[in-house]
Symmetry: C2
Subunit: 343 residues, 2 copies
DNA sequence: GTGCGCCGTCAAATCGTTTTGCCTCAGGAA
DNA sequence: TTCCTGAGGCAAAACGATTTGACGGCGCAC
């Protein structure tokens, strides 16, 4: 019928077929069609057959936007990260996507570049879009205070930090223990003058804390000149390492707060003709892909990005399904040391 | 006012305020509120003031889902890629996001792992969600045939391949020219026995074609034994290179269809104690971050991921705004050779 | 004075679902 | 027979916006 009239003129854009059309084609009411689709109420076998046939014939696909409006669920969750280009966040996002995909949830990714205003903007945007949940993996502490005020309804899980919000769960990689392990490992190997390349001020403080505690436990003094800073980048690690290597009492081991800086440090060692780990040992943090691309392969602490994303997804799901309602949970993920060639 | 009454009882979930509430609070009709928001019709200065005040007081935020339903625009575009974890696609996605962000469009990312059924599923899903556009960067040729049937309404742009669909634009990195440049470069440097590690059968054929044409132009014979295959991975490159290096007439240069395989090839060279590029030259393709992490830094062909994503976004925008309507365009992006240490 | 056009506003229809309340009918129990 | 119960179906009211058509004033030109 419809195809016939279409072939005549073909003026109308073949707009999507609605539930009403299916209903009239099957000779039932829209309600009934909806019920065979959702199974919320019983439908006679015969009617169901007719309806199903009509659906198939017309190629009906439900309009999800309309459904979302009515049910107040978007089957979409937002993940806000500094930069999807950063492998750590890419892997995290993938872990999240895999975890929620089975439940039919899509993932809306937002790049903030770590800017507070963008964080806030995307938070608002996500709420306005009616997402079913938010995974927040951007920013460490400062920005988060304001975020809590935004909404009290939709579940949020925060990665790498706690957020003061009634429905907010947290998953935090245990940086501190991991860093302590790295420090302890270097000490146990007999290195004497152990240095650290930290992150920028106010960032990655737990990694510094873990390292310090290990040094204390191992009775290693760490003079201030051996605690330098980088900006998380390879180049930043390079310059920091350069400074370290020109010290009169040159360090024989350095722990870097992330892999990229460790790779920069490695560059310096190569440039200076220093043998790693004999002349100087290097340990990183994160265990990115690149860690096994450099030579020798980087000894580092594994930051479980995929797992973090996955458990964030699980946390969200448990709240969305109503399986859990209650105060904020926090699950901490271990960061194991992985020994390779540089220490 | 509101905070006061809230602190009293706190029984009602603070459900979002609607346009109707704003209207009644301001003593006007919902229509008027909508008009001050959208500016589609003029509104008296006084009324506008009242409305704006009401909006601010009540903290009104428009429900985007409802808007989407009515306007049939979701302000969301889907990008379907094999795997966001792959840096190439991550960068591409970022380029896209940056391009469309200014227009208020969000990006919904879908990981297909290159599986046809998942490609189809996400395609459907994206349409059902009413996305305003789709960027398809997964799969090379085979899967795409079926996709065209899905929808004739929403604009699609295909990256790295053409798709037969009325509204489908294409952006294709010029693999072939890039590969030809790589081949020509090796020949010009005087390498005699040039080999290639290709992708799997039916994949990356333009790269192979470019290489072949360069060899022909340079009058280099390439016996079949020097054309081996890998599976795009580092390990695949490793085994392929191993095979190459045990040939009786050992190649003195090898062009790899992507960087990861080139890195695997480099592993073999190091393992065998071969000096690069003196004993054997290596050229990759893609210019991923890792290319400058290996030693020596990899000479490679740059695959402009960010630009590809960006122009895909522009193409989409031009159609969505109605600025362009018409048959499918294709823009090709140059893939320049970048000379570094391995050739 | 009349007609015309414009400005500002509103009521009502619309988008495509889901969900609630009600109705009918058949069958079994009392 | 009467009452009750459950199954199967429908009409209509949401959901929260946008958009269309109409209407009452007002100013201006004729």
């Amino acid at each position: 019928m419809l195809p016939m009239s279409r072939s005549e003129v073909e003026p109308s854009p073949p707009s999507r077929v609605t539930i009403a059309q299916v209903a009239s084609h099957a000779g039932v009411s829209p309600t009934t069609v909806s019920h065979v689709l959702s199974g919320k109420r019983a439908v006679g076998a015969a009617t169901r057959g007719t309806v199903l046939a009509a659906i198939r014939e017309l190629g009906y696909r439900p309009n999800i936007v309309a459904r979302n409006l009515r049910t107040r669920r978007s089957h979409m969750i937002a993940v806000v990260v500094p930069d999807i280009t950063n492998p750590f966040y890419a892997v995290l996002t993938r872990g999240l996507a895999d975890a929620v995909d089975a439940a039919g949830l899509g993932t809306y990714v937002c790049n903030t570049d770590g800017q507070h205003d963008r964080e806030l903007k995307f938070f608002q945007d996500a709420m306005d879009r009616g997402v079913d949940g938010i995974v927040f993996a951007s920013g460490e502490t400062a920005s988060q205070v304001r975020l809590a005020e935004v909404d009290q309804q939709t579940p949020i899980v925060c990665i790498g930090a706690q957020l003061d919000h009634p429905l907010c769960d947290a998953v935090i990689p245990d940086d501190e223990t991991g860093s302590r392990a790295a420090g302890a490992f270097l000490a146990a190997r007999g290195y004497k003058r152990i240095a650290m390349i930290q992150g920028p001020p106010h960032y990655g403080m737990t990694r510094t804390a873990g390292f310090r505690s290990a040094m204390q436990a191992a009775k290693r003094k760490v003079p201030a000149e051996r605690m330098v800073r980088g900006d998380w980048t390879r180049k930043g690690g390079y310059t920091a390492m350069k400074a370290l290597m020109t010290l009169t009492s040159r360090p024989d081991a350095v722990f870097c707060a992330n892999d990229l800086m460790a790779i920069g440090a490695l560059d310096v060692a190569h440039e200076l003709g220093l043998s790693v780990p004999d002349d100087v040992a290097i340990v990183g943090f994160d265990d990115v892909d690149a860690a096994t691309i450099v030579t020798p392969h980087l000894t580092t602490v594994r930051n479980p990005a995929y797992e973090a994303g996955g458990t964030a997804g699980d946390l969200l799901l448990s709240r969305m399904s109503g399986r859990y309602t209650g105060t904020g949970r926090t699950v901490v993920l271990p960061c194991p040391l992985v020994e390779r060639g540089t220490a």
